[in-house]
Symmetry: C2
Subunit: 421 residues, 2 copies
């Protein structure tokens, strides 16, 4: 075997292996499958060998295309998967922060014309090219911090034309950056001003016009709904999700973030791949998710930015729910660093570093229906690999909240590295 | 005038001017003195002109040595000043995190042989070269995140030889990195195991042997004490600080972090330049500091990592205390990003972005007795300047917790930039 790229003498490799079929739950999340002094061989964008360095070298029969690179003392992990972001939007929202400082809540800022409606106006006015340029700068930053797979939601257009424009912008970005982008249609993110007081009419528009148009365009793999008090209630959310499912889309839901509406139960009922936020989810809702195999995606940076408490990650892990972590990067929580999210997960939600690592790799890949191809370092999987300036997984919580990336390999290509010339 | 370096058309320049003589207090902290479309001319490592671009250009009579660089849409600020770090030490402490997860407090981890005593052992075993190598990697990371002035404390040697070794390591680092390092002697950081139960005897060693040796070496400008229950009490702290003052050293104190011992009052009494932490400081202690002109240095990343509440920044600002912010980078809080600290200051301590910016620039410079030379962009000051990928100071809180540095200029030299070739 003649690899394109050969990484050897890696201090530790956390492979996260053995869970391509289903996400990690319970104690599995605390085992990231560490190989000491590991090596990884890559060919045609795929991992072709992984194991202790001497075992991998014995499989390499021809010199690799590039000289082997050694990473002693460092940690290799799968590329991070950010399974919940609102990557594409126009404008920034620094002025909302003054309202937050004055003690206004998310819903109060929304009512004051700030928040999402502000971004809606900017995004409708923006060209597709503007959206691509903005999203590019955010995605490039994510990539430099080790995120190689990004889910990107629409949801700031809120009419058919502008939702499609957002999805096309993400699609255009695919050609411009070496990362794996997965699109989600979130037409039901807020009620646009022209439908104020007529939520049901807007729901009809989403179901009758937007979902068919998005499905026809093949621009989104998932459909998501912001199921929340004052936004879309359970019945409206159910109708939208079922309509999307009917068109072959997979489902996600913003569930039980601020008020306990029963979003977790709904996620289980409609077979959503993930339910996200879950700060106020009921035990019974979480139990329904567990039985349905719905992944709990926790977004602690949002709780940080809203200055609320955090989701009960420990309780969810202990009851056997698969937990994923994501940034929720969006104009209301503009932090794109999964290292920041991991810091919050460990220091505030009391997750162990290994659990956090499982949650941003294999479990997050499952939350995007990519568990069989991404999220772990295993033969045959896409070669998305990080080399971190970090000797072991525990160190991730010691040196918290900063970018520990040394080298990013995406789809088999070295795209960011601190290696000298 | 022929500048070495000319920066023009900078979207906004936050100069922080007018406070070279004394730190900002109260409402002054909320005014960072913004110039729109600004320019900065630099010569011989100093700022020689600052103002609106057209005004600066009218003073430039000869072409600059390098072509002028334009930064439209960006924000220039003074280089960040991190006025409280424990930069030099050996070993890492990821294992302590498991104890934290199990609910142990800082003092309990200390009693279990973890914490600072762990670092003490590693640091005593380390060579000066080992310490330089470690500190280099942390300082380089700080520099890439905009910190151009760093205070570095000793305090993991805890005997004369090893304390001097730490200070020499910081001194050696001065030649290796283009940043401004200020050393603090912190022999009274903990009681070393060989003095267990004999704190007074250790205090005598600090006073009779260490302080004279450090003063003679000229390796430290400041003396600091960890005044805390179970460490050094008020009387012991007072003796040490007065002895250091007697040798011409300026003073700092770790005050009222975990238990209200009266460290704030002591800081005022001995004329300390700053008192740091202050989570439990009494109103009367803070009032004494205000009258004495002692700066309140707040370290929210430590509170984050210990999962405690935060210091009362709002109360301190409102009573007219000058507030500085620093990372407290140390083996118990290994986050070296002032962007992270600013995020905590704004989101958790309810500081305004402009207040936070004042607190990491001019006020932090005053906390290191460098207000007349650093911490603001003014004619005659050292040319430590950041260009941030950020249109205005408020944006710092919108895009929170990530490195927004585009270009770092330290001592007049461009040492880090995202500018293309």
């Amino acid at each position: 075997m003649k690899p394109d790229l050969l990484l050897t003498n890696i201090g530790q490799v956390a492979t996260l292996e053995g869970h391509s079929d289903s996400p990690k739950v319970g104690a599995q999340m605390n085992d990231v499958s560490v190989i000491d002094n590991g090596a990884i061989a890559i060919k045609d964008g795929k991992i072709v060998a992984i194991g202790p360095t001497k075992d991998v070298l014995s499989q390499v029969t021809e010199e690799p295309r590039l000289p082997a690179i050694e990473f002693p003392g460092m940690l290799a992990t799968p590329g991070f998967v950010d399974s919940h972001t609102h990557l594409a939007f126009a404008g920034s929202r620094e002025r909302d922060f003054a309202m937050k400082l004055a003690g206004k809540t998310y819903l109060e800022i929304l009512e004051a014309g700030g928040g999402i409606l502000n971004t809606l106006r900017s995004t409708r006015l923006a060209s597709q090219g503007d959206l691509v340029a903005n999203a590019f700068s955010y995605a490039e930053s994510m990539l430099s911090m080790g995120t190689t797979t990004i889910e990107a939601k629409s949801g700031y257009g809120l009419d058919t034309e502008n939702e499609l424009k957002m999805l096309r912008a993400v699609d255009e970005l695919r050609e411009k950056l070496p990362l794996n982008l997965i699109s989600t249609f979130l037409g039901a993110h807020a009620i646009p001003p022209e439908f104020e007081g007529r939520t049901d009419a807007y729901v009809d528009l989403v179901i009758d016009e937007m979902i068919p148009a998005v499905a026809k365009s093949s621009l989104a793999e998932f459909c998501d709904v912001f199921c929340e008090q004052g936004v879309f209630d359970i019945e409206q959310s159910r109708k939208i999700l079922l309509a999307a499912r009917g068109k072959g889309m997979k489902l996600k839901i913003h569930a039980d973030e601020i008020v306990q509406l029963g979003g977790a139960n709904l996620a289980a009922e409609v077979g959503a791949v993930s339910a996200d936020h879950l700060l106020r989810a009921s035990e019974e809702g979480l139990e329904a998710m567990r039985k349905a195999g719905t992944i709990a995606t926790l977004l602690p940076a949002t709780a940080f930015s809203l200055d609320t408490d955090y989701a009960d990650a420990r309780g969810m892990i202990e009851m056997g729910l698969p937990v994923a972590l994501a940034t929720d990067f969006n104009p209301n929580c503009a932090n794109e660093s999964l290292f920041f999210t991991i810091a919050l997960a460990c220091y505030k939600m009391k997750m162990k570093p290994q659990e956090a690592l499982s949650a941003v790799t294999i479990n997050a890949a499952h939350a995007l229906n990519r568990g069989s191809t991404h999220g772990s370092i295993e033969e045959g999987k896409v070669a998305d690999i990080l080399i971190l300036d970090c000797p072991n997984p525990e160190y991730l919580t010691w040196r918290f909240g900063v970018n520990l990336v040394h080298t990013v390999i995406s789809n088999g290509q070295v795209i960011h590295t601190k290696l000298g010339p």
